[in-house]
Symmetry: C2
Subunit: 148 residues, 2 copies
């Protein structure tokens, strides 16, 4: 019988917060010196939604201020992982494109992490992870829509 009191749902978010922290530490330990999780998140995002996004679109996707995204993109650009070029359709904005190096770093990092996950599967029933994925996805979609 599932626990229905509000504190139970609060606990779900607490668990999610802790797991996020632990998984971020795992990710950052595998990134090249100077790159942190937000850098990787942007690379990953650009693959998932297609690159050529504007900085403000990316900032909104991550719910961070546009000034933070300016800074993150500067770091990626300085390392040659993205190209930031003027937007031909709007003189105010720019568009962000992944470079070869950007694609490669993202792919290599995921490959490395996949190997870690493989080891993880010896200790954890991965079908349980697969099972919660749709719930997390729906929760994310709902919360994403709920932000005014």
């Amino acid at each position: 019988m599932p626990d229905q009191n509000p504190a139970a749902f609060f606990e779900v978010f607490t668990e999610i917060g802790i797991i996020e922290q632990l998984s971020r530490a795992v990710l950052e330990a595998r990134l090249p010196k100077g790159l942190i999780a937000p850098h990787f998140a942007v690379l990953n995002h650009l693959v998932r939604v297609q690159d050529g996004r504007t900085p403000i679109e990316i900032a909104r996707a991550f719910q961070v201020p546009k000034t933070s995204m300016t800074h993150t993109l500067k770091g990626l650009e300085a390392r040659g992982l993205v190209d930031v070029r003027p937007n031909a359709e709007d003189g105010r904005s720019k568009r962000v494109w992944l470079t070869k190096a950007g694609h490669a770093l993202r792919a290599d990092t995921i490959a490395t992490l996949a190997a870690e996950f493989a080891k993880l599967s010896e200790e954890f029933d991965v079908t349980r992870l697969a099972d919660i994925r749709p719930v997390l996805r729906d929760l994310r979609i709902m919360m994403d829509a709920a932000r005014d």
Copy 2:
């Protein structure tokens, strides 16, 4: 048939990262000016594990450098939410205690969020959340143990 390829598990952590970000925004919008999620996390932690912890114990629990915890505790202390007192059993360290105000802020915040969750339950089948809680808990315990 659940998706077994490694990228599927990667997606689980991606979803968790996004949900953490969105839920943190919700939390911080309800905290008093100047308090951010880490402050609340410490208050909450001290209730869950009993207060009287040392700063380094708290830092380890959150996987953050001890210098970061010094800073966070300073903020909580300046607002009268915790008392940081010398540790009678070890002259090097201190112990952190919740004040009345600290207990109250934590309780009030949770009460406010519980009301939000209640509204949330009109849009989302909360039994699904309750169902994933044990999986998240076990995953957190496993990852927590796996960090060297």
